[in-house]
Amino acid sequence: MATEQATGGSPRRTARWLDDRTRLGPVLAAMLHVRIPMTARTFYFGGIALFLFGIQVVTGTLLALYYKPTPEAAYESVQFITSDVSFGWLIRSLHHWAANLMILFVVLHLLRVFFQAAYKFPREVTWVVGCGLLLLTLGFGFTGYLLPWDQRAYWATVVGTEIAGGVPVIGDSLLLLLRGGSDVSGATMSRFFGIHVLVLPLALGGLLAAHLVLVHQLGLANPKKPEPRVRTAEADDEPLRPFFPHYILDEVVAWYVLLAVLVVLASLYPAGLEEPANILDAGHPKPEWYYLAVYEMLKFLPKDIGILAPIVGLGVVIVWPFLDRSPEVLARRRKVVVGGATLIVLALVFLTWRGYVA
């Protein structure tokens, strides 16, 4: 691609040599073609989330080489990684910050798609799969948070599983299932570790592949006009932007910027470690920031409603493309939806902020 331009013929020769022996050229060409209308503005949120997932896979794999998932050893091993292994602090801090940023960018991606009405025909399935990816990402955050087994990790998990235990009817069973016992213990840690490094990566990998295939097949949405139900010549005449190399190049620049942000965060605010978990001293009964809105809401609402509201809310978000059937995509023609969503987002930001300063 870029280097090819600069270095001239030799890579091109290599490519031809390879293609002669693999015949993958047409497959590659098909893969590198995605319909991107000139008017599409993605802000690269989805691509950035993908990049962060890549970072998580690499750093997570590295951390697993030293980490020991038992309550007796976890804390010490994390301390060992952070202070004894060379670049251990960097790998761990990258994993820590990329996790937070990944959740942020998945949410931003969702909001972008929502406000641009890109979930409408024919991308309803892409949206549902994307919501699945959001849930898995939150699951990653929840299970990974316990693993250092320090005070913050332990008590955030106690509170978090407690909230899950408040779900009507199935709450008690859910709590038992999550904790692997009545308390947060070694059993909890084993299952959180297993879920974090086996179940979720496989699930997320599968859903991600589905998501990307769908994006590839459907192309990006035009935020200016609805997708016609029937393909017309006029629609095919729409001015397009080449996915490769133009769009990809922008994406890579965004990744580099994100890498810079990660390096700054990891260097200036390295992932810390509090005192080892102490089941007798509830020091930090506060969940991670992305659960704070729900946590805060529980202070205002009756327990059942406070727990059911986010679940119902998520359900509505998942099936939203099937509820909102108007073909309109421009914000000024869907004032109620855009206004309502803006209010909800502001309320969630406010709740998160309140929970943060409390």
């Binding site: 870029a2 952070t82 202070s83 932007r241 190049l249 890498l259 390295p270």
Partner: protein, 505 residues
């Protein structure tokens, strides 16, 4: 029956008058080496003539005698006899209904530890608890006594509480009776028939007696200072005795008072911890080391090794440097006055027989509890004190510096667990060095200080390495950012080239 103890007391106090005069003389002499007595000593001296005239033998209760109490405890009276109540309680049935005051008394008794142990009205008041007729139950024929007066109270309580057989099931001590009569309170009651002194009911209550472990009891450890202050902080009440009334206020500001009253640490000493409770009396100069050493065991052991401890009469004791009610956290300020004080030979020497002496009055003011109050700047010992102060100062400085460095490293997000362990080791040596000052041994203090300093320096070196590591990371970050910036520039240039091509098409 009730008259017996009172008669006995009168007789005892009468026979004691002569001996008490002698005792008072001793008390004034003893006050010279007894700081608790110091403020009251002059007052008692001036009031001595009138005091002995009215039979107020111990003008200053604070001026504790150095001899054993002259009056021993009267014999324990036998318990008040009355017919057994059985399941009935005629007293309670009427008194709980007769009026508000009586109802209150009945209710107080009902919640008391006595009610729980089946100790009823008649056990203290006599009479016949079976009857619900006032003319029967409260008749003198039935042995009704009314309220025991203050001179009788101790005997009434003691009739059961000094009885080993009666107290066994409750696992309660039985020596309070004897102890009480040995206290300043008991002695004044015995000798001068002074009924203003504290008797059992003043601290324990009468009808509403509660266990010491009951937080609502006036004698619960956290409540003791206020209980004592109830009388002892009352200037009018203490006026006849010429003793200070500011102890509670002073104590409240001390390390002990703060630990007990503010931090609610029941292990912290209250008045009773040093003065005794039933046997309340100010500790004497000969006792103070044991009294403080009861809790400060390690310090006492170190002090016993010191030159100070060998000085007998002239020995500086705990209170010489730390005070009594106003004990404050120790520190390097205790070594020297900011400016050299005035010395006279008589400050430390008895000129008549050329021996050392220690005037406790000179240490009444916190600012004067310093080594150089006695040790002259030209003396050899002063140089030794300086050596101790310097060694300790060096170690304390190194420890503080290491602590600050570790904080720096932690603020930079570094993990400082190993440096903190190093600091804990330094702290162990430092606290030992500080405590070793009580031995007055320069070598011991300086060895421990050196040890503390080395360990603190090691911890500091660890912290500095972490700060350096953080600085290195930040520098590396800038290099990486520069490389990323170059890459971005390259990609942007390429992209603009591509865009131009696209427009060209």
């Amino acid at each position: 029956m009730a008259a017996t103890p009172a008669h006995r007391l009168l007789r005892l106090s009468a026979t004691a008058l002569v001996a008490a005069g002698l005792w008072f003389g001793l008390a004034v002499t003893a006050s010279a080496e007894d700081p608790s007595a110091a403020p009251g000593a002059s007052a008692s001296a001036s009031a001595s003539a009138s005091a002995s005239a009215v039979g107020s033998v111990v003008a200053s209760p604070g001026a504790s005698p150095s001899a054993e109490p002259l009056v021993s405890a009267p014999p324990v009276p036998s318990p008040i006899a009355h017919p057994p109540a059985g399941d009935t309680n005629g007293c309670f049935d009427c008194h709980s209904a007769v009026n508000d005051k009586q109802a209150e008394i009945s209710a107080a008794w009902e919640t008391s530890v006595h009610a729980a142990a089946d100790v009823g009205c008649a056990d203290c008041h006599g009479g016949d608890p079976r009857s619900d007729q006032i003319t029967v139950g409260m008749s003198t024929e039935a042995g009704f006594l009314g309220s025991p007066d203050r001179t009788q109270t101790v005997g009434v309580c003691g009739s059961c509480h000094a009885n080993v057989e009666v107290m066994r099931p409750y696992n309660l001590p039985t020596d309070q009776y004897v102890k009480y009569w040995s206290s300043v309170h008991g002695q004044r009651l015995a000798i001068a028939n002074d009924t203003r002194v504290a008797v059992c009911t003043d601290c324990h209550g009468s009808h509403d007696v509660r266990k010491t472990s009951d937080p609502n009891a006036k004698v619960f450890p956290l409540n003791v200072p206020e209980l004592c202050a109830g009388c002892h902080a009352d200037a009018k009440r203490m006026e006849p005795y010429g003793i200070p009334t500011d102890q509670f206020e002073i104590y409240s500001g001390s390390v002990h008072g703060k630990a007990l009253l503010e931090e609610q640490d029941v292990r912290a000493p209250s008045c009773a911890s040093c003065h005794g409770s039933h046997d309340a009396k100010p500790p004497r100069a000969t006792e103070v080391v044991e009294v403080c050493g009861k809790c400060h065991t390690a310090t006492q052991e170190l002090y016993e090794q010191s030159r100070h401890a060998q000085l007998e009469q002239a020995a500086p004791k705990c209170w010489t440097c730390h005070g009594t009610h106003d004990v404050s956290p120790p520190g390097s300020r205790l070594f020297f006055h900011p400016e050299t004080p005035d010395y006279e030979c008589s400050t430390c020497h008895d000129l008549a027989n050329r021996t050392l002496r220690l005037e406790i009055d000179r240490f009444a003011n916190e600012a004067d509890r310093r080594c150089d109050t006695c040790h002259h700047p030209d003396s050899q010992i002063y140089a030794q004190v300086q050596g101790i102060a310097d060694a300790l100062g060096g170690a304390e400085g190194a420890y503080a510096a290491a602590g600050l460095r570790i904080e720096d490293a932690a603020r930079l997000g570094m993990i400082t667990a190993d440096a903190e362990v190093g600091l804990a080791q330094a702290r162990t040596s430092l606290i030992q060095a500080q405590a070793a000052v009580h031995t007055t041994k320069l070598k011991l203090v300086s060895d421990l200080s050196t040890d503390a300093r080395i360990k603190a320096d090691e911890a500091q070196a660890m912290a500095i390495a972490k700060v350096d590591e953080s600085t290195f990371r930040r520098q590396a970050m800038i290099v990486v950012l520069a490389l990323i910036a170059l890459s971005v520039v390259f990609l942007v240039v390429i992209k603009r080239q591509l865009d131009r091509e696209l427009e060209g098409r």
